[in-house]
Symmetry: C2
Subunit: 469 residues, 2 copies
């Protein structure tokens, strides 16, 4: 590094580092209305890659995309009692439209179980219509008093899946399938974030759910981030919206429903799970720019080599950007490091005289001098391996900073810089409350072998506890 980083060091002030990197990498800005967010092109480019990868997995799991309205009649929200209690403090309400006051106030959707329930009830008549598997990509609004870009914003972007099934077993199996084949798979194989996959204890469940599955990632300060959740809604919404179907026995029965979502919060998770004092580290499969080609100095030879390399890399299916920029070279290197672009190709007149360029990795200090005709193949090879290396590093950190403990006091100590693993039974007599006093929560419950329990009453469960975002 020729120059000092422009960012607050993580060890000095992690939240400040997070703010700095979002601003300097040009990921997002605060919106004009409190708690809202402007996602800038580089941040949105990451989100587009996340969307494409999740969407492909959601479709492979058989769900189809649809779109339901932003505006929900206030009366819909009140039909499921726990749901309205959970959401009403966060609602934004439209009272005027088209120049006059509305007869019934309209709620800006905080989530769409209610409106989708209403339509599923119309569309589902017979067991032949089940399962009904829908997903939508949408914006939702939950008023935030302590907003934080990507992590907690009053408006955020997400996908929300909603499904209806004939039996509880089908609903449970589908929620687990989405959770493992869509979310866990995406987190491991695209975002390179290993997570603890488990169920939420009652105290942390979604409003209206009978079971909530979660993927909990570890950020570089040792805190947890809930990356995605999937809910078994039992028959709660089916009852509220009268979702009956005729069974193959000819009886009227209530559906069993699920919902599941992941949001722009994933961008926050990506930043905090991988970033270092030099800025973002964006794993190659989610990187909008995989290789940045830097002209060290303008000259006809440099310009020609940059164009040729750009062509070759693009033909190899690599996403590139060219920087012929006019600022100092050192400054530009720092800026691209902040943006976390996996590979940086430095093209300068002196190296070119020997037919060479320099290729630098963002995730290590490794640099190599390459002949021009080696660049495309070497870059492709490095990018292919880099995902696994970043994931491996994150997995080592997750393991090293997860401490098995046997008492609440030990758990409190262990979560100063990581996660604690403790028998769920050890938290039952007031232990969960004692942790909560220290801003520590049960992130999820797992079986001893790491698999998903049916519910929190199963015996011999393990709790993963941590401070969290």
């Amino acid at each position: 590094m020729a120059q000092q980083s422009a960012l607050t060091p993580q060890a000095e002030d992690f939240p400040r580092w997070y703010q700095d990197v979002i601003a300097k990498a040009e990921l997002a800005d605060n919106g004009p209305v409190r708690g809202t967010m402007v996602i800038r092109p580089y941040g949105y480019g990451i989100w587009e890659r996340i969307q494409a990868e999740l969407d492909q997995r959601i479709k492979a799991a058989g769900a189809k995309n649809a779109y339901f309205p932003l505006f929900i009649p206030e009366s819909y929200l009140t039909r499921e009692a726990e749901h309205v209690e959970g959401f009403s403090p966060e609602l934004a309400v439209v009272t005027h439209a088209g120049g006059s006051e509305l007869a019934e106030p309209i709620v800006v959707r905080p989530t769409s179980e209610t409106v989708i329930g209403e339509y599923m009830a119309k569309w589902v008549q017979s067991y032949r219509d089940l399962p009904l598997l829908l997903n939508q990509w949408a914006n939702v609004v939950r008023w935030e008093l302590r907003p934080r870009l990507f992590l907690r914003t009053s408006e955020f972007l997400w996908q929300e899946g909603h499904t209806a099934h004939a039996t509880r077993a089908d609903a449970t199996a589908y929620a687990q399938r989405i959770h493992l084949e869509v979310y866990r798979d995406f987190l491991l194989n695209v975002l390179a974030v290993p997570t603890y996959v488990g169920i939420k204890p009652l105290s942390e469940r979604f409003a209206g759910a009978i079971n909530t599955l979660t993927c909990e990632g570890m950020m570089r300060d040792g805190k947890a981030l809930q990356m995605a959740t999937s809910h078994e809604l039992g028959q709660n919404f089916a009852k509220a919206f009268e979702m009956y179907f005729q069974s193959d026995q000819g009886q009227q029965e209530l559906c069993w429903t699920t919902s599941w979502g992941a949001s722009t919060r994933l961008v926050g998770g990506l930043i905090m799970a991988h970033g270092d004092d030099q800025g973002l580290i964006v794993p190659p499969r989610v990187a909008p720019i995989q290789v940045v080609i830097l002209a060290i100095k303008e000259s006809p030879e440099v310009s020609a080599a940059v164009s040729q390399l750009a062509d070759e890399l693009t033909k190899a299916g690599i996403r590139i950007e060219i920087d012929r920029g006019s600022g100092s070279f050192g400054r530009r290197v720092v800026d691209w490091e902040i943006k976390g672009v996996p590979l940086r190709l430095e093209v300068g007149p002196r190296d070119l005289e020997q037919g060479k360029v320099v290729l630098a990795r963002r995730d290590s200090s490794e640099k190599q001098s390459l002949a021009l005709n080696e660049v495309a193949e070497t870059a492709a090879t490095l990018l292919a391996g880099m995902h696994d290396e970043i994931l491996h590093g994150a997995t080592l950190r997750l393991e090293a900073n997860t401490h098995s403990v046997t008492s609440v006091d030990e758990a409190i100590e262990a979560t100063a810089g990581g996660f604690a693993k403790i028998a769920w039974d050890a938290l039952k007599d007031g232990g969960e409350a004692q942790l909560r006093n220290e801003a520590i929560t049960v992130r999820c419950l797992q079986r001893r072998d790491g698999s998903l329990p049916a519910d929190e009453t199963e015996s011999d469960l393990v709790a993963i506890v941590a401070k969290s975002y």
Copy 2:
């Protein structure tokens, strides 16, 4: 056709036919809040194809996607006088959020010139930052008193591009580039809808624009639909949001901006430009399902052949759906015709005994018997040619139903079932108002050779006039 169509014939009642086809093809439903829309999976599948094709062209034109907030402070809207006047009757206003009344009411975006103007002003410092080329995919709200699914809904989905340039000439050239390379190209080569491309007269311009470009398509009842618009905003928004940049001469100058959009209204255009009394006709490039494989009757042989054909077609890059459905065969054929799937493959036990299946086109009454191993290649060939044939048919209708006239009275007569072409000069002394009394408007102005004029004051322009949606 074995069975009668389930739709109102177009000639009997075109608006009713439109409603029927949307319901029966399962494209969309009315939402619970007046004027809103639920887009069902088949309708959304068409929109996803539209999005992908437009997005690719927008990126090729150099614009990058970003995301700006749904909520805009009311005060932003009032900064550009014409803009607020144009939009205030259509606004939805949030007055309460997070459990209390807001100090300043918040507007749900009807379009985003204002909020994007605010941020562009921050991001643009120097001529080196220009052009700044942004696009967003978003929902917007404009309260509709006479809603019609896809055509006029209180909430709709769209892309809105917003760009800032150093000179008027650059802004003009970019707006024209988008209009021709993105919109006209997409309409011709994906939606198979030929359009009149021209500028709007002053009376039809976007609120705050100095010039509006439009693509006007002809629906099967002879009415016009505005398919996409691009606006030169001059320096109006730059002034309102203080978008200054330092020129290469070191002076502070105001930017020139553009905006351009296309919405879910395109789905309405697709329906009305191509559909017939049997239902939708979806051109193959925008079809979510290009070939439907119908099992005429369940049997092990049929089931095996259906699976084999599905594999082969999928491998050939064709989007398919399998219908092993249990209803009557005739009824299922009618349903797939309503959905407008380009090709229908009928697989039955009798044909299979001779190693044959039947392939039927949706856009003609042509049917052919094929050997199993000919299916994938024949389907690919038919799909490749079908786009041009559908476009050719639409172009012939557009030409046959556009009448060159010389007087306002003739124009009124000609627009009973099509468009009229008339010298713009002939409409200047009250002619435009006279047409408007008959619910006929100037859809666009062109040069005699069909090219784009600089503005409506150019001499010797031609007006395309029509009734419209």
